[in-house]
């Protein structure tokens, strides 16, 4: 298989010290770091279907040893995540080698093999009281009035069991200490998590950062449509600032003061 050969080459030619991919353990695909010392393990390399934030593992490794050269199995979303991490100085692009996986369908590949490609099914109750996974933020805005929007989001948020899965799996969450655990912002030891502040804090921190990989929504045991929430957040960022995170290496607009004021404050509508 080409991918195996390419990964082996990276290790054998010392272009990387470690290669991050997946292998099967007890029937489960899990992330694994392959090394030159056990290069034969690469024959067991798994590349399909399952997804984990390998970039996050790369960040952890890089933090322990900034000189470490890391090879990484990269889907399109990983590429966006990497760009973002380069932008925010969490990874050094010079130390990263990527092997691109056939992922989302495009003009180059007719099929994809990402678990995310199948449309999700939303139950009838959820459709009636909560939010359809497949709804777009724009349609959602258009179809529901303000009161309805609030009650639907409240329905979704109140299911939260505060497992922090969304944050833990997020490839672009890199803060050492998280605002979601800040006692002044989110009351500790309370379930369900304080609504909506818990989710809005995370949404705000995702603005200009979320690269729409969907891992959070996959991970959420409470079936909260997080991907759609962060999509809206990113839409706002791209509408207001013309910035799409992960597109290329460019600072988020939240960190740019700019020399001229182009926006004007919205007038108060009574």
């Amino acid at each position: 298989m080409d991918m195996v050969k390419a990964a082996k080459e990276l290790l054998l030619q010392d272009r990387v010290d470690i290669f991050l991919g997946y292998h099967k353990l007890d029937g489960h695909q899990i992330p694994h770091g392959f090394t030159k010392a056990r290069v034969a393990d690469l024959d067991q390399l798994e590349i399909s279907l399952n997804r984990y934030p390998l970039e996050k593992i790369a960040c952890d490794l890089a933090q322990k040893d900034p000189t470490l050269k890391i090879g990484i199995l990269a889907r399109d979303c990983s590429q966006r995540a990497l760009n973002l991490l380069y932008t925010w100085d969490q990874l050094n692009p010079e130390n990263i080698e990527t092997l691109t996986v056939n992922c989302c369908p495009s003009s180059l590949s007719t099929h994809g093999d990402c678990s995310y490609l199948k449309p999700k099914t939303t139950g009838e109750y959820k459709k009636a009281h909560g939010i359809d996974y497949n709804d777009s933020p724009k349609d959602f805005m258009a179809e529901h009035d303000s009161q309805d929007r609030l009650s639907r989001w409240m329905y979704e948020f109140q299911k939260c069991i505060k497992c922090y899965g969304c944050r833990n799996v997020c490839p672009v969450c890199f803060c050492k200490e998280c605002s979601l655990e800040h006692p002044n912002l989110v009351e500790p030891g309370v379930l369900p998590a304080e609504v909506p502040i818990f989710h809005l804090i995370r949404a705000t921190h995702m603005a200009g950062r979320c690269i729409d990989c969907g891992l959070c929504e996959d991970a959420c045991p409470a079936h909260i449509p997080l991907r759609m929430l962060y999509r809206e957040v990113n839409d706002a960022v791209s509408d207001i600032f013309g910035y799409v995170p992960g597109d290329h290496i460019e600072k988020s607009p939240f960190s740019i003061i700019g020399k001229t004021v182009e926006l004007t404050p919205a007038p108060m509508d009574v």
């Binding site: 933020p137 959602f140 805005m141 529901h144 009035d145 303000s146 009161q147 309805d148 929007r149 609030l150 009650s151 989001w153 409240m154 109140q158 369900p192 609504v195 909506p196 809005l200 949404a203 705000t204 603005a207 929430l229 809206e232 957040v233 706002a236 960022v237 509408d239 207001i240 600032f241 607009p253 939240f254 003061i257 004021v261 926006l263 004007t264 404050p265 919205a266 108060m268 509508d269 009574v270």
Partner: protein, 64 residues
């Protein structure tokens, strides 16, 4: 910076169905009248909108 952040948060709140409760206005220390006008207008607007719906939800939650 403030302008950008507020514009964003206004969008987010609108998406959540909580629009109209955040407003940004630049008023210099020399513009007392403007300050009074804006604050009065905003207070009245909020009063007309009624109490924050989240308060009701959180109280319901506490009550079980």
């Amino acid at each position: 910076m403030t302008l950008k952040r507020i514009a964003f948060v206004q969008e987010l709140l609108k998406f959540m169905g909580l629009e109209g409760r955040l407003h940004l206005e630049w008023i210099s220390s020399a513009e007392a009248q403007k300050y009074v006008d804006v604050v009065t207008k905003f207070t009245e607007k909020i009063r007309n909108m009624g109490p924050n719906p989240l308060r009701a939800i959180n109280e319901m939650k506490k009550a079980g």
